[in-house]
Structure formats: C-alpha cells, structure tokens
C-alpha cells in the first residue's frame, strides 16, 4: 500500500477506522468463539451427565439384580433343607437305619433320596449324620470322614432347635470356600428330638460365584462383589474378577473411607464413588442381600464410564475448534477483502487529492521531520520561484534566495515556518513572509500556515506548510500607509481644526489646529479622551446633533464656543457621520474653524446690506410714487383731455349742420380743419396712452406663436391695403417665449410702417422673416418703400421723432418709440437699416428664453 504522507482523505480515514475496527472484530470473534465453546461444553456436560446417570442406573440395576438373585438362591437352598427336614420317608428310613431295621434297604432309600437332591440342586455332597455328629450316609458314596467341629456345632444347633441352620461362607480345611446347611430330620413323634440331621455341602463356585460374577451388560471392568463384615474388616466373599484366590481370603479395614466395600458394610446404600481394592477409581452401587448380612457391590471402573464422555468431549471440542477456525478464516477473508477494497479507494482518493493539491492555487510544501522536503505542488514552485527539483534539494538554489519578515528584514533561519513548527510542535497560521528569489528583486509576499502531522505514536512525522500570494494585498497596504501618511500630513497642516470622534464622544484623532482653535494648551495629544464640551448654548448643541443625526452631516453650523480659558469664539462647525465599511460602526469626523474675525466681518456685511436694502426700498417707494403720479396723469389724459376734444368735434359739427347752407366755403373749410385736428389729437392721445401703458403694463410672459401673432396684427392692415398691390413674403417665424400682446403691437407698428411708407410703390414689396443669431432670434420686416437716410437712424426710435413730414406721411412719432420700449422690456434689441428711396429693414431680436418667467 502506498503511504499517503499529506492527505487525510476520506478513504484514508476509512482505512484508519477499518484498522481500528480490527480489535473490535477480534473481540467480537472471541466472544462468539467463547459462546460456541460454552454451548459445546454445555451440550457435552449434558451428555456426560446423561451417560453418568445411565451408568449409575446400570450399576444400581445390577446390584439389585444380584442381591435379588442371591436372596432367591439362598431361599431355594433353605427350601431344599426344609424339604429334607420334613421328609417323613427319609426320616422313617433314617429311623429304621438307626434302629437297624431293614438297614440296608433303608440305607439304599436314604442314599437314593439324598443323591437325587444332590444331583438335582448341585450340592457337593450331602451327609446324613446323627444328631451328635456321626456321619451315617454320604452321597456321593465316599468314605465318610468325621465331620469338622464347625459342622458339628451347626448339627448341634439344628438338633437343638429343630430348625434348618446354615453356616457362613467359609474356607474349609481344604482351603476351598464352602457353605454347609444342616436340616434336622423330624422325629416320628412330635416333640421328640430329631432322629438325624442332613448336612448339605454347598460349593459357592458352582452357582453362587458364577452368577455373582456374571455381568449382564458388556463391560470391560464391571464386577460384582459379595462382602460382609467380620469384626473390623470387610471380607470379600466371592472370587474377584481382577485378582485370583481372593474369596474369603481378602479382607480390608472396614474403616477405609474410599473403599466401596467398606462403605457397604458401614451402611451406605445406592451409588457411591471410591477407589477399589486395586486402588483404581470406581463407581459403585451397593445393595444388601435380604436375609443375609451380605452386601452386593456392583462396581465399574470410573474410566470405563468416563472414557466415552471424554471421547465425546474431545470430539465436541474438536468440532467446536473446527467451527471457530472456519469462522475465523471466513472473517479474515472478509477483512482482507474489505481492506483491499479500501486500499483501492484510498489510492483513488489519493489520486483525487493529489490532483487537487497539484491544481491548488495555494502553495503546499510537505517536510519530513528532519525538515527535508518530501512533497510540493506546482503552486509552491511558482510562488517560491523554485523548481520541484530545487525544492527537493536535488538542484542548488540561488544563494540570494531567502525569506524576509513583514518589515523587510531578512528572516532568521529558526523563524522559517517549517523550523518554527519543528521547534514548537505547534501549528500556526497567518504568518507573513516575503520571498526574495534573486538578489535585488522585490519580494513576493506570502501568507503562510503551517501545522505538524504526528504519527500514531505521537512522534512528529511531517510538517505541512501552505501559503498564498498576498503581494497585491501587501502592496495595497503599503499604498494605504502612504495615503494615510499623506492624509496625516494634510490634516496636520490644515488651518481648520480637524477631529474624529466616536459616537460616545471619545476623540480618535485631531490636528494641532483643533487644539489651537479651542485654546487647549499643554498636552496636545487628546486622543482617547473625551471631546471637550465647548458649547456655550446647550440648544446649539442639541440642534447640531439633531441635524447631524437627521442628515448624516452638518455644514457650516455657526455656534458660540468656549475656549479652555473661558473666552468665547464663533466656531463654524462641519461634521459628517462615517460608517466603517467592515465593522459597520459609526464615528464622526468634523472640522472647527475659528470664525470670530470673519463673523465680525460678515455681521458688518449684513448690516451694510440691510442699510442698502433700506435705501433701495426708499428709492423704490419714491419711484412708485412717481409711477403713480404718471398713471394718474395718463388717466387724466385719456379721460379729461378727450372730453373737450369730443365737445369741440361735436359742437363744430352741430354748428355746421345747423348753419346748413348759410356757411360759405371758407367757413366750411374751417369747420373741416377743426374736425381733422380734433381727430388727429384723438389719435395722438391714444398713441401716447398706449406708449405710457407699454411702459407700465405688467409683462405676461409665455410661449408665443409668432406666426399667429403676426397674422393677428396683419388682419386690420390687410383691410387697409385691400385696393393696393402688395407682394407679401412671409418666412418661417420661430416661436418665442415673451409677451403675446406686446409683440402684436410690435408687429402692428413695424408692418404698419411698411404699409404706410410703400404707399406710392407698385407693387409694394413687404418681406417678413426671421433668423437665429448667437442664441437670439432676429425677426425683420423689409419693405421697398421710401426708406431713410442712415444719418438719422438714431432718431428713428425717439418719441415724437419723425423723418417725414405729416404732409408726406401722417404719424405721431410714437409707434417706433413704442416698439423700442417693448423690445427693450422683453430683453431684446431693435435696429434698422435703410436708404432713401430704396426701402428700409427693421430688425428686432429677442432672447431665446426656454422657460416662461413669472
């Protein structure tokens, strides 16, 4: 598996987890194995118990069977004895024999009787003896020997009691185990002593021992013992299976704690465990033989019982082991499979992350614990200006190459990122380092992070250094510092007091002029202190603050302020709220100007202005008065002068009418003259009134359609020229913003003049047009009339000034004066060009007003 030195990718983590899971898996497996083993053991124990119980039951059954058989056998023997004892024929024969009556025949009968019994039931021999122990007849027929004292004691016992008596199992003089039974032969008459006794000799080897030794089940070690207590010892009555010649010869202390036979005679019953006469551990069942003081002990070697159990145990253990081994193998296989899969994922993941690292814009350099570089990415090469080979130490690096600290000083070796981490074992970030690639070059600025990677044992394995290029930021910061410095210099040299203050009134910054204006002496660095309360009038301050809060700024707020020494100054305050772009916090920057001197000057200006205004008002009032007088005068002219004229006209007409034909031609001429003069005077008065009004009337400025205005003025003139030949040429007349009514008067006057002074021209040519000149519109009226001498052009627009006599062209000399007055009032100019007999052109210009003014 490839080691992944840098990356702790997800696949890597998965693998780590997978490995950590190994112990869990093993523990789980062990628990499972223990469970399986436990289960197997339990099953085995169940079997063992079952086998043991089976063995115990077998032993118990054998013991009881044997005990029962022995009881039955002894009862049979007793029966045999009693049969003989009660045999009257035998008894009679015996009596005959003893009496010597028919002795031989009796003897034969007796012999036959006893022999039948002997053969039938397997007795060794049967002896008919006298009650005092003298043998009479013996079957099989052999030489009778005298009976042993033990037998004789039995005979005496039987003769005395008249009951069948049997001996213990004992060793005869021949060293052979035997049992004797003595049956007394009842006398002919009841109450008499028995006539004789029959001694029946039983050889236990014939019947007793064989069926004791006979084991009903196949067993390698099964054995039945017949024991009885004799004194302090337990005597083995039968021949043993495992030792010969023991019948009645082997005896062991009855106090032996582990000997099952001893346990039997001590009264134990049922199943016991112990060690037999051979010293072999056995399992035994004890049963007493009824009617005797014998005990049957059926025993079997423990090993015989336990061997199959052990075998099964081994088998179970083997099987369990096999299962566990198989399970372990399977788990291991699965484990390996998963590991291989994770390995593949890790390889893929590592490839992915390697690609990522390769394409990262941040530089990544991985150092071994000895600071040797083991891995780097292309960005690192680019940022550090070193090739991959140079980084790996394979190629020499320019000796000028080094790191610099943020302040530009060369960086000490121990401060190199990797060395810092190796020395401290701690990660760090945000360190700034400049890289000088070649001598004299500007350093490239890097922001470095570095962190250690530890192995499983806590030992430092690798140091990872990552960095990004922050040259642009550093340069921006340098620019910012320079800008800050310039700002500072500017602020310091400002004549205005500058301050910057938090919303809580703590001064952040200020310049010397600030101290000077507020008269602060001594310590002139007030930063961090409270802004001095320089307000004289609290309402001023409240107004200032309110305006600042409402608009975010205050401009030229004039307030009375107090210097430190208590003197007053007029302070011109400006301020605005500055919101920090990043923190969003607000502070206030403001200026203070000592306005005292300027305030005084300004006050003077205000005073002078007020005076001037008063003067203007006075003059205006005077002028208004004069205007009023003029109006009154004009009114009088219009009203009071016209009335007498009307009367003159009226009464002269009435006079002429009344006189009728009495008046001569001359008189009639006089009346005509009066009439004409009166009419002229009327026109003159009307013109004067008009002239007066154009000076006084209020301007009504608005958009004026010049074309329409001209036609309104032309209307009456066209009627006048109805019988004349006039060539009208009317060009484009742009609209204008002016007074419509006044302009109509202008057109009426100018065109009227043109009509009047072309009276003798045929055809008369009148051209009306307009042209734009320098933002003004110039309108003109040109005619081919009598024209005028330019020498007198200056007189054209004067009141009552005329260039022609009334006889030539009637007129009041007010029309053009009126035109000039109107055009001048509208902000324009009027002028004329002409030549005697060659026509005249009158021009007027109007300013190109865009907006109607009130």
């Amino acid at each position: 598996m490839a080691e992944s030195p840098v990356i702790e990718g997800t696949a890597g983590e998965e693998l780590q987890r997978h490995r950590r899971g190994q112990w869990l898996l093993i523990a789980g497996f062990l628990v499972l194995a223990a469970l399986v083993a436990g289960l197997a053991y339990w099953a085995w124990a169940q079997q063992a118990r079952s086998l043991t119980q089976q063995a115990e039951r077998s032993l118990d059954a054998v013991a009881r069977l044997k005990a029962g058989q022995i009881t039955a056998w002894t009862a049979e023997r007793q029966g045999d004895a009693r049969l003989l004892s009660g045999d009257e024929l035998l008894s009679a024969a015996t009596a005959d024999l003893l009496a010597g009556r028919d002795a031989a025949a009796s003897a034969v009968r007796i012999h036959s009787n006893l022999d039948t019994m002997r053969r039938l039931h397997g007795y060794v021999d049967i002896v008919l003896a006298t009650p005092d122990g003298r043998p009479l007849i013996r079957v099989p027929a052999m030489a009778t020997r005298p009976l042993g004292p033990r037998v004789r004691a039995l005979i005496a016992d039987a003769a005395r009691t008249g009951e069948v008596v049997s001996s213990d199992l004992y060793l005869g003089p021949d060293g052979v185990a035997r049992i004797e039974m003595v049956a007394p032969l009842a006398a002919q008459r009841p109450g008499d002593p028995p006539v004789a006794v029959v001694v029946m000799h039983i050889d236990p080897k014939r019947f007793l021992y064989p069926f004791i030794q006979d084991w009903p089940l196949p067993s390698a070690s099964g054995e039945t013992l017949l024991v009885e207590r004799r004194g302090a010892r337990v005597v083995y009555l039968n021949e043993l299976r495992h030792r010969k010649g023991t019948a009645l010869r082997l005896s062991i202390s009855a106090a032996n704690a582990t000997l099952p036979a001893a346990m039997a005679v001590r009264g134990r019953r049922g199943i016991v465990e112990g060690v037999d006469y051979r010293g072999v551990p056995v399992m035994a069942a004890i049963a007493p033989v009824l009617g005797t003081h014998w005990y049957v002990v059926a025993k079997v070697d423990k090993s015989e019982v336990l061997d199959p159990i052990r075998r099964r145990g081994w088998l179970t253990a083997g099987f369990t082991l096999l299962v566990v081994a198989l399970g372990a193998t399977g788990a291991l296989l699965l484990w390996r499979l998963r590991e291989r899969q994770l390995d593949a994922e890790l390889v893929a993941s590592e490839l992915k992350y390697r690609t990522l690292v390769e394409n990262l814009s941040a530089g990544v350099v991985v150092h071994a614990a000895d600071t040797r570089i083991v891995l780097s990415n292309p960005a690192a090469s680019r940022l550090l200006g070193l090739s991959g080979d140079q980084l790996l130490g394979k190629t020499a690096v320019d000796p000028a190459w080094h790191f610099r600290n943020a302040d530009g000083s060369p960086m000490a070796l121990e401060d190199y990122p990797v060395n810092r981490v190796v020395a401290s074992g701690e990660a760090f970030d945000g360190a700034i380092a400049g890289v000088v690639r070649t001598a004299g070059a500007e350093p490239a600025w890097l922001l470095c992070n570095a962190y250690p990677m530890h192995g499983g044992d806590g030992e430092l394995e690798q140091v990872v250094v990552t960095f990004i290029d922050i040259s642009a930021l550093v340069h921006a910061e340098q620019d910012l510092r320079a800008s800050e410095r310039r700002f500072r210099e500017t602020v310091e040299s400002l004549d205005e007091g500058y301050y910057s203050v938090t919303v809580n009134g703590v001064l952040l910054d200020h310049n010397p002029a600030f101290c000077r204006d507020l008269g602060i002496r001594g310590d002139t660095d007030l930063r961090g202190r409270q802004l001095p309360d320089f307000w004289v009038t609290p309402s001023d301050r409240d107004g200032y603050v309110a305006e600042l809060l409402a608009h975010g700024y205050v401009r030229d707020f004039l307030a009375e302020a107090r210097r430190e020494d208590g003197t007053r100054l007029a302070a011109l305050l400006s301020a605005h709220i500055v919101v920090d772009e990043q923190s969003g916090e607000r502070h206030i920057e403001g200026t203070v100007v000592d306005f005292t001197a300027r305030k005084a000057a300004e006050d003077e200006v205000v005073r002078l202005n007020a005076e001037l205004e008063q003067r203007v008002a006075d003059r205006t009032a005077e002028l208004d008065g004069a205007n009023k007088e003029l109006e009154a005068f004009a009114y009088s002219v219009s009203h009071d002068l016209r009335a007498p004229l009307r009367h003159i006209s009226g009464f002269s007409s009435l006079l002429a009418e009344r006189s009728g034909g009495q008046l001569d031609d001359k008189s009639r001429h006089y009346v005509d003259v009066i009439s004409t003069s009166v009419r002229q005077m009327g026109v003159l008065i009307d013109d004067l009134l008009q002239f007066s009004r154009t000076g006084r009337a209020e301007l009504r400025i608005g958009p004026v359609d010049m074309q329409e205005t001209l036609h309104e003025a032309l209307e009456p003139l066209r009627r006048e020229t109805g019988d004349r030949e006039v060539e009208w040429t009317i060009g484009e007349l742009p609209p204008v913003v002016a007074d419509h009514a006044l302009l109509r008067q202008v057109w009426a006057n100018l065109v009227g003049n043109a009509v009047k002074y072309t009276r003798d021209r045929t055809p008369a040519k009148i051209e009306i047009g307009a042209a734009g000149v320098n933002g003004e519109v110039v309108y003109f009226v040109r005619d081919n009339g009598v024209g005028f001498d330019m020498e007198y052009a200056h007189k054209l627009f004067g009141v009552f000034q005329r260039l022609h006599s009334d006889a030539e062209f009637e007129g009041t000399g007010i029309g053009l004066a009126n035109v000039k007055r109107i055009v001048t009032r509208l902000g324009g100019t009027v002028w004329a060009e002409g030549e005697p007999d060659h026509g005249a052109t009158f021009y007027f210009s109007l300013p190109d007003r865009k907006e109607p003014t009130s």
Partner: protein
C-alpha cells in the same frame, strides 16, 4: 298702468356730453324718454326712488347709461350698488365713458356690466355709437321682468 315708452337713465356730470348724447338720441325720438342724473348718488336715488325722486312713479328704465368719472360717487360704484341690490341687480347697465383704461374695462365686466362703450372723440362716430345704444337697449332688447 305701465307706460309703453322705454326709459333711459343717463348718469353724466358733464353738461356738454349730456347735450351731445341727447342730440344723438333725438335722432330716433328717444331723447324725450331720457332722465339725466348728474352724479352717482342722484342716479341711485332715482333708481331707488329716494331723495328728490321719492315721488316718482315706480318704474325702472330700460337701460342705464353710466359715465365712470362723476362727482360724489363714480360710475363703477353705482354699478356695484345696482348689482348688489336685489331689486336692481338685473337692470341693464352700459358704461359710456372716455376711459379706455384696461383696469376700468376689467372692473366693469367683473361687476357685471352689460356693455362697455368708449365715447369716440369724433362726433359722427359718437352720434352713431349713442344711437346704436339707444335703439338696441331701449327698443330691441327685451327688458328683464320687474322685480316688484
């Protein structure tokens, strides 16, 4: 019994103008139905039948020809009184004056004058104007119903 002849009240202080006006009206035999008031006060007294006119028959003229410039009370004042008097407010009133002052014309129309005529200086024109007035208002125009 109301008379069929139309009445004209001429309020004019200038005797020359009165004479010329009557001369003009005489042409159409209207002169003998003209009553002349020599100032505004007299004109109102006539119309309201008070003062010197308290005894006159209760009849309103067909039209009042009113000069503006008069002693004691001027023509515009008389016009205002007429238009605010419930009994006189529908009375046809014509201003006959020498004034061509714009302000006078505007005020007259604002007060509800029925016509505004500037006396021409020329006699022929004057005669024509007054004749037209007399004929129109006294003969052609339908009078408003009497308030009383």
């Amino acid at each position: 019994m109301t008379q069929r002849y139309p009445d004209i009240l001429l309020a004019e202080d200038n005797p020359n103008d009165v004479e010329l006006t009557l001369e003009a009206l005489a042409e159409h035999n209207l002169a003998n139905r003209v009553t002349v008031a020599h100032d505004g006060v007299e004109a109102l007294e006539y119309l309201r039948r008070t003062g010197a006119f308290s005894g006159r028959e209760p009849r309103l003229p067909a039209v009042v020809l009113l000069d503006i410039k008069m002693p004691r009370m001027d023509g515009l004042e008389v016009l205002r009184e007429i238009r605010t008097d419930p009994k006189l407010k529908r009375l046809p009133v014509v201003i006959l004056t020498s004034s061509r002052e714009e302000q006078d014309i505007i005020t007259s129309y604002d007060l509800g004058v029925n016509a505004y005529v500037v006396k021409p200086v020329d006699f022929q024109a004057f005669i024509e104007a007054v004749e037209h007035l007399g004929v129109f208002w006294a003969l052609i125009n339908e009078r408003p119903p009497h308030a009383d």
